[in-house]
Each structure stands twice: as C-alpha cells, then as structure tokens.
Subunit: 425 residues, 4 copies
C-alpha cells in the first residue's frame, strides 16, 4: 500500500463517529430477529432497503434470499465485500435485552439465534457501505456489497453462484470477508495461504433387521454394527492419513432404538470431517464409504447403507498477494492489534464465491470478546470454560470495540484497492 | 388328578356358552380402553365391580391399582389365579373396530394399546371367576382372583407384595397364571421347571466432555466410548458365560449428540439382559458394571458412569408337582391341543407373587392366532413376517377360540385343587 | 440285556486277574513310546502282532497306520471296538518312571506324549480282545478290533474310511468306543443323544501391506485388521446364534510382526469352533468367512484373506437304543459307579467310522484320576488347579482301577451283543 | 560463511581423488563385516587404528564400544563429527559381491547387515578425517571424530554420555552428523528446527488366564483383550491429539497363543510411538498406559499388565544458527543438489550427545540411490516398490556419488567452523 492509498482511510473513517449508533442499532435489531438459512426474508429486505437508500444498485432474491448492492464510482478496481444472512437453530441463553425473539415453541416453531456472529458481519458491512457511499470523492472504482444466505450448511454461496451471480455484478478484482470469534475485541488477524479447513458433513443410515431383544439370532443388530463403524472410522486418521496431513473425523451423533428390549431396524450416524488438503479430503470421504459398506457386509445387513452428504465447505486459502496487501494495510491502520492468525478448523463457504468469479480473495478474523473478561479468564486459566465461543447459546460479542473494528477493517482493506487510480500502487 | 376331580370340570364349564358373549364384550371393552402401568384406574374399577357383583370379597388399590377378589366356598384348598391390568405405550395399527381409543396426540398424551394380551388374560379370568362363582355346589375351597398392575416394567407384582398382599388374602396352596402368544388358538402349553427367563433392564449414561467436533483433543468423546462399551459387552456372552448357560445381552438403544460437528457431553445406552440362572444373571450384571467403568477409565471420562436398573423380572420356574397336576388336567380336558411348551426368553413378574406368599406355582401359555392363518404362513414359510407377535402394533388375537380356551384352561387348572375335598386326590 | 446275556460277562472277566500285569505292561510300554499322528508305526506293528498271536485276522496300513483285527466266532452280531494310536506333540512333565522317551531336541525332533489317554484306550482294548479271544465258548458272533491313526487332528478315522475300511471288515451291528478323562477312576459315564461337540479348526491369514511403522498411510495395517476381526468374531456367539444353541468361537492364536517399528505384511489367526448342531456349525463357519472377508475390504486389503480348515471333528451323537443297552449293562455290572455323563465340548472323530459303515454306535467315558486325590481337591475347591486334564503335560491316569475299568467296560458292552445267539435278547 | 572460509574447502577436498578408492574399500569391508549393537568390536578397533595412524588422539571402549579421536590443530573452534557403528539383525538379500558375511545359522548365530547405512557414515567420516588430517595448514581448531555404538535401539549415544564422554573430549562448539537415505545420490538436504521425530518403543504384556478353548468362561482371554487394546490405541491419534500435532502410534507386533484350541495365558504387543513435541510425547505414552491398564480391568485380568520402554529416541531439532551456516556452505559447495529437507518420522539418538555436551548441533541427509534408477521409478510411479529403503534387506546405496557426497558434506560443514581463525566469520 502506498502512502497515498493509506491516506484515504482516515478520510472515509472520519464519518464513523457519526454512524456509530446506527451501526449498533442495526446490530441489535438483526440480533433480535434472526432467521434460519434460506428463510432470511426480513433480513434481506431490510439490508436491500438500506443499500438502495445510499445509492447502491441492488438485486435481491439471488440463490433464494441473497442480496447484492453495487456502487459504481468511476474507473478503478472492483472490490467485493461479503457477509452472511443466516442464524442458527439455537435457543439463546445470553439474557441480553436485545436477545433473540425467536425462542421457538414446544412442538411448533424452531428457536433461532445469531450465535455465529453473522449479525456483526452484516452490521459492519452496512457501516462500511454507508461510509464509502458518503465519501465518493476520496475513492474510486466499484464497490460490490454481497449478503449471502445459508452459510451454516455450506450451501448459500453455491446457491448464489448457481443462480447466476456472475452475470449480475461486475467481475471483482478482489473479494474480501471477515469473521468475528472469541478473541479480545480490537484484535484483527489474517494469514496468507491455508486458513480454514474444508468441512464435510455426512449422514449415514445403517440398516439392520429388528427383532425382540432376546432373539438376536433373528436380527441384524444395527447397534453393534454402528459400534463397529465408529471404531473403524478411528483408523482413518490413525492409520490412513499421514501424520503430517491434518484431518479430523468426528461422529457427532449416534442414534438407534427406542427401548432396551427391542433390537431396532437401523442406526443413524452424523459424521463431520475436517481436512486441509483436497487429496486428503477425497481419501477420507472415500474411506468412510468403504468402511461403512464393508461393516454392513460383515453384519450381513439386509440393505445397503445410506450415505448422504449434508453439507460441504471448501478450503479457505488466502491469496498470497491479496493477503499481503491487506495485512500491510491492517498493520498501518491497527498497529499492534493486527497479527498473523493461526489456521483454524472451522470452515466457511466464502471461497465458493471468489472461486466462481475468478477473483483472488482473502478472509480475516476479528475479536469479539470483552478484553478485560478475556484477560481475567486467561489469568485464571479458565478461557475454555468462561469465554463463550461461536455456536454457544451464550455467544455474545461486546458491541464495542467489536463493531468499530469490523467497520474499520472492511474500509481499510477495501481502500487498498479503491484508492484513486491515479495515485494507487 | 383323579377321575372324580376331572368330572367336576364339565359341570362348571357347562355355563360357558351362556357367558361367551359377555366375555367377548369384556375383552373388546378392555381392548378399547387400555391404561398404562400404575394408571389402570378405569380397568381396576370395572373388574372390582364385576367381582363384587358375583359375590367376591374385593380389595382394591393394592400396590397402586391392584385388585384382589376372594370367594370362600367351604373347606379346601386356596387357589390364586392372576392376570395383569396394564397396556403398552404403543399406537395400535390393527384397524380393528374395537381398536384402542387411546391414540395419543402430538406433544400431548401418550398412545396406549393392549399389545401384550393382558386384555385376554383379564377377560378370561373374569369368565372363569363368573363360572366358578355360579357353580358353588360342584367345587369346594377358596378362589382368589388377583389383577396386578404394571407387569410390563416388572414392578407391579412387587408393588402388591410390598403393599401387604400377604395380609389381605388367605395363603394360597397354589398360584396359577397364563399368557396368550402367537401360537394357533386352542393350543395350551406348559412345562415343568425353568419356563421364562429372568430379565433386567439397565440404563447406562457415559459421561464424556463435549467440544467442537474439530477439536477432539479438548473432548472426551462419548460416542467412541459408547462404541467401545457396546463391543466390550459382546464379550460377556461370547467369552464369560459357558456355552451351556444361556444368556442374552442386548443394547436396544444408543443415543448421543444432536449434530455432526459437536462432540456431545454424554451417551446413553439402554441394555436388556436375559438369563436362565441366578448365578449367571449376577455374573452378567456385574460384568456390565465392570466393563462400563473400565472403558470410562480408558477414555479418561471426567465423571463416573451412571448405571441404573430400570426393571428386573424374576425367573419363572414352574413347580414340578403343581405343573404335573395341571398338565394332567390339560391332557384330560384338551387332548392333543395340550402340549409341552419350550422355555422362552420373554419374562414375567408373576413369580414374585407366589414367592412372596410361599405358594408353589405354575404358568402356562395359550395360542391366540387364527389357526388357518398360522397354517398358511407355516406352509409359505412366512410365520416370522406374517404373524404379529406380542408387543407388535398389529398384535390381534382372534376372539375365538382364544377366549374360550383361556377360560377353560383357568377353570380346569383351578379345579385340580378345588374339587370337593372329600373326593380330591 | 437279558439275564442270560449278563451272565456271560463274569465268565469272560474271570480271566482279568490273569492278564492284569500284561495290560499294565502294555500301557507303560505304549506310554513310553508315543508316536505322532500318521507316524504310529511301532505302535501299530506291536498291536498287530498281539492280535495275530491271539487268533485275530489282522489288516494293517489302513489309512496310513490303521490296524483292524477280526475274530469270527460263529453266527451272531458283529461288534466293532475302537481305540486310537496317536500321541500329542507335548513334552511330558509327569516325572513318571515310564514317562515318554520322546523328549525332542532343540531344533531337531519333536517331543511327543500320550497326554490324551490313547495309551489307556489301546491297553484296555488289547485286554478286552485277549479276554474275549480266550473265552470263545461263552460268546458268539464276530469281534472287530480297530485301532485308528491320527485322532488328534480329526483326520485318522476319515483316512481309514477313505482307504476302503468297509471292504476289509464285516459290516458291524454296533460300534463302540471309550475315552478316559479326569473323573475319579472306576467311574463310567454314558448318555444317549448328543454327547460331544463338533469341532473345526481354521487358519486365517489376513494380508495387509507392510511399511515403516511411522508411515501407516503407506501401509494396510494387518494388526489393526486382525483386532477388528477378533472383535467381529465375538458377535457370532453374542448376536448370531440363539441363546439355546450352544457354540464357542475361540481365537487361540494371533501372530503378526516381528518388531515394534515395522508394520508387517500379514497377520495369522488360528480359530477353533465348537458346536452342537450341524446347522449352527454351518452358520458359524459361514459367518467367520463373511466377517473375515468384509473386514479385509474395510481395511482395503490388497489380497483376499486365506481361510483354511485345518481339522474338522464330527458331532458325537449316541444312538438311543444302543446306548440304552450299554447303559443297562453298565448299571448291572458297575452299579453306582456307572452314571449319566454330561455332554462335553471336547470332540472325537470316532463317529466318522460308524457313519461310514452304517452302524449305530455309542461312546462312553471312564475316570482316570486317583479317587482320593480327586476327593481331596474337591474338598479344597482346587480341582481346576490340582487335577491335570487331558492335553496337560502332567496328565497321568492312575494305572488302577483305570485299566481294569476300561477292560471291563469294553467286555461288558461288547457282550450285550455277543451273548450266544440262541439266548440273546 | 565468508568467502575466505569457503575458499578453504577446495584446498581440503583436493585430496579426495587420492583417497577415493580407500574410502570405497573401507566401505566394502565394513559392509561385509557388520556387527550388532554394543558388539561392534572389530569395527571400532579398525576405526581406532586408522585414526591413530593419521595422528588422532584416540580413546576407545566408551559406552561399550564407542570410539573418539581428537585432532588438535591450533586455536579455534571445536567441531564434533559423529557416525554410528552398529548394524541390524537382518539377513542381507542384495546379492552384492561385498554383501554381509554374517548370514546367521538355524538355531545358532544371528544374521547381521548394515541395512541402515551406518557403513556409509563411517566410511565418509574416515574419509573426511583423513582429508582434514593431511591438510593441517589450511584449517585451524580441533576436530573431534566420534563413532557411537548401538544407535538402532537408541541406547548408544546415552551410553557414551553416561560413560563420561564429556570428560574425554574438549567441549565442542558445534556437533554435526549425517544420514544416508533413499533419495538420489548427490542430493544433500537440511532444515532448521524440528527435523526428526522422537521415537519410543514399548513392550506390553497383557496377562489373561489360559483354559481349554471350549471353556472361555474359565479363562480371561488375552487375545480378545489384545484386540480391544489395539483398537483403543487407535483413538489416541484419532481423538486425543490435535490434528496439528503430528503423532503416530503403531502396534508393530502382536503375539499370543500357540494353537487354535487353547486360550493362552498372555499376549504381547510391541508398540512404537513417533512424536514431534515433548508434551505430545508425554501425553501419548501416558494414554497408552491408561488404556492398557483399563482394558485389563475391563477383562478382569488376574495380573497387572507389564509395560516396558525398550528404547527411546530424542527429538532431533536442528539449531537455527548452526543450520543456517551449514546450509549456506552446502549451497555454495553443492549448488542445486543442496535443498531443504522435509521433517521425517525416522528417529536418531544423535541429539543425546550435543545435548549432554551443551553444544548446538545440526543433522542432514544425503541421497544414496542410483539417480537413473530413481528417475525411472519416478516416471513409472513405482518408487515405493522399486527403491529399497533403510532397513530393507535389499538396501544398497550406490558407492558413487554417495561416498564422495558424504565426505564432501562433512568437510564442507566442518570447515564452516574450522577455517583459519584470523579469517573466519
């Protein structure tokens, strides 16, 4: 980043104090009204309305509920900034005044909660869009603001791509996204190369044959079969993947039978796989299939098992050049609060968008935890117990400096490409 | 049985044609109004009313909802006949006109069904009580008619004993009970010695430590632990019990986790054990405890497992002398339709009553399946698929000759002791 | 057995005191010179010589080293008495003066020992043959004395049958055999119907792919595969065979690898199966094959497993009528020392002979342990530790009354058919 | 490395062509006469003799058969170069003219083979010592040449340290070692930081209780117990170690039982563990102990298991500064043939020496495979099958350029410290 480019950041962020309470209001409103994946109608309407009000050319209903706003501001680079719309089917337990109003009902509607911070991402992206929209004279190029549906099951980004996203927006020169997590608020972390694991979720149904529990000889016991499968699966990481090739295979759920004295007909396993390399990923998925099918044969199962891929997240690999430019901008702007992040096992489907658009991309993380609470927990050695993480019903980022940091990071990174062309690097 | 004793049976059964439609009505009414264990209020009231009407001295509310009727008819033996009150939490699928009206509701009341034939037992016992009550001059002694609650979880007989049953009735010289099952109707089977297995139900909770699925190193995975336990348990029957000592250990249910990407905190197993010998039973139960605890240690479980005995059914061992006498009476009365039954793995808590009262006892089975349907299925080799067994939502004994057979078996067996004392053997 | 038949037994056994020391000498000589299966040349020559000396028509070399002697003594039944020639590859540890002289050598010849009592069987059969041969006037019919090779691997009886045994001897009306075991000497036990289990020995080679131990991803680990197979096999008895159908599946040996840091190419399992029913036997053997093959697939084994049946012993089922006749004779002759034996898991290939010859048969056991030592161990509760059983390197039947009992049992049983025809039952 | 330092390398290596055939002769002689760990008497005598002849001050018999030669050549740094003496108990299958003459005999002496390349290391170190000894005027300082016994079980380096090595030599400023492996000859690879895994070998004896195979209820089956342990151990890598923390746990050998029909008394496992972090190492070793003990409890084992650490290799972590200096020298001298090596799972106990002496150290690898053969195998995709690796009975480094490369690497690295002090960096 040239000095000239950097010098535009303060000009844009000068407006932050003026919109801070708006950003906080947007955040609280979004947090109170979470919507599950592909059902984010209220959320997307609200976002589209704001963007239109600020002069963006808006297209909604992409891939279901996805929204894109384009702000063309002269020649220059095209920068895409992305956030996610969807919440999780979790009943909130934060006790916050602005807690989710979607608390579900017995046998009726499902609870929902923004327990993964997508509300932070949306509020910050609105804030960045607002600031850039109101300072057209200090930057140049095209800003594309994208809100995707249903990130949590890894399907929303692909849905927008499949719905013709490439035809609806100018081709980005760079695509950027961020994620809040349980580091101290004000922290911003990024790393070149491999950042987030690929993740795949499988549902496996093992068919046995039920019988009265006292007559196992008349049955094919799916509980014993499931136990064999679970132990077999341990040998993938232990024996089939090199020690240097990271992989995790977790059976997160196992379910079979209702009562003690009946051998059930089937057992269901939910399996999650995290990998950091496409070849390893392929081998793990294939090994699961091979093992499941062979164990069913060993048990003389009357039917083939069902193996269904419920979701599939790509590897998140940050482009080296793009990341270097963003990291330099962060270092200049955030100083010591910016650092090099570790690669992480959580996954995100963001990469499906730049891959489809042919754009290089990078992805960074920001902290959301009260810094004093974090430091106290660290001193007490109780971070794991005391600091709620993403997907916890108690996940509750502090409003500030979390929201300010998210807005500043987006603006800073975007301006690394949107500085006036005559002066840019 | 002397010829004289036998000769009283026709005198009592002469009234059967007169009450046959009453027995069928009672059966259909009971079948339509099933009540779950310890909740059999309508059922017990109805039975008590009938017995009182026929001159029995009735005590209700024993062990919750148990009912006893005593009919003293001069000197002689005291004979106890037992039936069960409770139904199962199953939604009936027979399509019968008199099917259960307790169909349950989503999120509300539970469905119930007499899917184990207790309605047959009650109707037949009412019929036998009615016939004996109306022929006091052809028999002598005391008839005790007992209806126990909650047989299905093995708790009802013990509850009546604990509630002072021994103080409420004269001490029986013999205790008798019968069970309908999926043999052709008109069949009556009995055997001396070991008849039904002991059964024990255990609930085991294995405590692990939850974590995000991508971080197994921060967790103690209860799914893997549960799989190890399930496989360990297979070695009890395979390695710790002699081939000649029959035992079955079934894990009927395994449950852990809600989603694919979270390692849960705990896993629950429901285990059923059937044994045919008290020593074997003790060893199997101890082995389960030993294995569960040790596997938890192998997994470095943060808490001891919970092992709870949910129910416990005694061995049913028929007294040799009593059984010989009943078998002789059956042979005389039923001819070829009476046979020697195999010992069976289902269990029954009947034995808890005679054991507590110090009375010898026997237990027999009667068929409930349409003989033509059974023969057809046997020819087609489809008995296992076509003939619904006890606990099936399609279990539907044919009214006749099932009910007639049950009434006749009870009367015939009871009269083996209730013949006029001056003439009895 | 008629009184007349019984009355011939004392006439034959009157000679026992005269040959007792011969029988003991034969026993000690045979015990000192054990020979392994199909290598019993000295033993069979010696036996043939004795039989010829007593007037038997002898054929040797049947099925390798088998010997048959036939003594025709007028019209009447043909009775076959059988004993076994072979010893075990065990180094004797009894310390007896007449202990095995075949002690083996390091890297050279194998040790051998009559640790299963075949020497007792041979000495007693010689004794019985001698007594019957010297009393031709008190019995009538044909006596066939058969010594088979290689019983220990279940191959010798079949070898004699395959070598044309049926053409070499008159068709027997009955075939009889006995076995010594660790009950008190003087005991004689027999039972009708199922007596000894069928036994099958399998050798399974599981092929993996070797690699340096630090590179499991380049290997197919046969140690892990073997462990999965061993646990899978437990589920045959635990889940696939009814509790009432006795079966035992034992992996007696598992071997893979030489060093800690190399993943070997293969693993070998030796598996033994005992069953009491042909259908169960078939199902168990098939289940082993199914499970082994499927587990190899689950491990992506590069080659099919090898499954070889090393030996196969038939069920020993005693003919009801024959057994009844022998049991009656034993009761008359031995009084309280004769009893009803339990069915046993050891196996014997005797049945292959009568089955091939179309003769009904029975098989009984005699005790071989010093009665005082047995009683003392029983009082101390140390029978299992103190009383050496068959196949122990310390197995050492007491000479008397073991040998007398064995001779008397054979003579008594044979005479149940060989009594003079004019008087026989 | 300064240009001046580098300029001394050619002066020393100028003598290489003159000693090349000597180095090859030494290699062939050492290869033909392998000696197992702590028995390397001929080898160490021969090496000591050479060193003495070239003016080294030699001490032998350190830690058994270890040898150290010291050549003081004025002020300057002290450089230690190390090689290993011992061979492996492998019967050579190379068919080479100079193959091992220690071919073992049936039941007698053990075969031996330099299958790990220690003969290459010794020959090259002799060559480097010879070249430096004959050019005392172009370098300055002290050269320490160390030959250690018994590297293969990780005990030899510790044995020399325990025997007072530190008192016998001047304290080195740097310690250097190299290893030949199956890369193309002429390749030289090095890396800073973690290079070789720590390795630990455990022997575990699981005690059960033997019995006849048909009576598992009288036994505690160690085969089933061993299978449970093997599967449990898979969960260490799969569940207890983070994906980012490399670890390998291999059960290289499992042994139990002799025959199919006897349940044995015990089972033996040989386990190897490779780790790349001391904390992970500790956790893996502890987990093995925990699991083994708990599984024994689950099986009601009559005795505690035996867990014995047979060998233990340290982590090999290359000092950053030392490695940088050596890598620079290699780059200057070898050009493109020098590269950055991957970290490897094999282990070496070299680090025990510099750690005990307080010296920084580095360790590098050289290729030993014929480059044409390697390239052909690479093209055919058959490297894994065609190129014999260390510990293979067919491991056969090509003499050249392997030996030249090894000599040149040692001289080049040593001179990075031994250049004339007045000119060195």
């Amino acid at each position: 980043m040239s000095d000239e480019a950097a010098s535009t950041v303060p000009d844009v962020l000068a407006g932050l104090s003026g919109i801070r309470s708006d950003v906080e209001d947007w955040y609280r409103d979004l947090h109170s009204h979470p919507e599950l994946g592909f059902g984010e109608r209220r959320t997307s309407s609200l976002l589209a309305e704001h963007l239109r009000g600020w002069g963006f050319s808006v297209t909604g209903g992409i891939g279901g509920t996805g929204v894109v706003g384009v702000l063309a501001n002269g020649d220059g680079h095209v920068v895409l900034l992305r956030a996610e719309l969807d919440a999780l089917p979790i009943r909130e337990q934060t006790g916050l005044a602005y807690a989710s109003r979607v608390t579900g009902s017995e046998g009726g509607t499902q609870a929902a909660m923004h327990a993964c911070g997508h509300d932070v991402h949306m509020a910050c992206l609105l804030g960045a869009a607002r600031l850039l929209a109101q300072t057209p004279d200090v930057w140049q190029g095209t800003l594309v603001v994208l809100f995707q549906p249903s990130e949590e099951n890894g399907a929303g980004a692909r849905a927008m791509v499949a719905d013709g996203l490439a035809e609806l927006i100018p081709r980005p020169d760079v695509a950027l996204a961020q994620h809040v997590f349980h580091a101290p608020a004000s922290y911003v972390g990024i790393r070149p190369g491999l950042f987030l694991a690929a993740a795949d979720t499988l549902r496996v149904v093992l068919h046995g044959r039920g019988a009265h529990g006292s007559q196992p000889e008349a049955a094919v016991d799916p509980v014993v079969l499931a136990a064999m499968v679970v132990l077999r699966l341990q040998t993938i990481v232990a024996r089939e993947i090199a020690a240097a090739d990271r992989a995790v295979v977790t059976v997160g759920s196992i379910r079979a039978g209702e009562g003690a004295n009946i051998i059930p007909d089937a057992a269901e396993l939910l399996i999650n796989v995290w990998t950091f390399d496409e070849d390893v990923r392929t081998r793990v998925i294939e090994a699961i299939g091979r093992m499941v099918r062979a164990e069913c044969q060993a048990s003389r199962a009357p039917r083939e098992p069902e193996i269904e891929r419920l979701s599939s997240f790509p590897l998140t690999v940050n482009d080296s050049e793009v990341t270097e430019r963003v990291a330099a901008a962060f270092g200049w702007h955030f100083g010591d609060a910016a650092g090099t992040a570790d690669s992480l096992t959580p996954s995100d489907d963001f990469s499906d968008i730049p891959r489809a658009l042919g754009a290089p991309s990078t992805f960074w993380v920001i902290g959301g935890t009260d810094p004093d609470a974090y430091a106290a927990a660290e001193r007490a050695g109780t971070v794991a117990q005391d600091i709620p993480v993403n997907h916890s019903p108690r996940f509750a980022p502090v409003l500030q400096p979390t929201l300010d940091t998210g807005v500043r990071a987006l603006v800073t990174a975007a301006l690394a490409w949107l500085a006036p062309v005559t002066r840019s690097s």
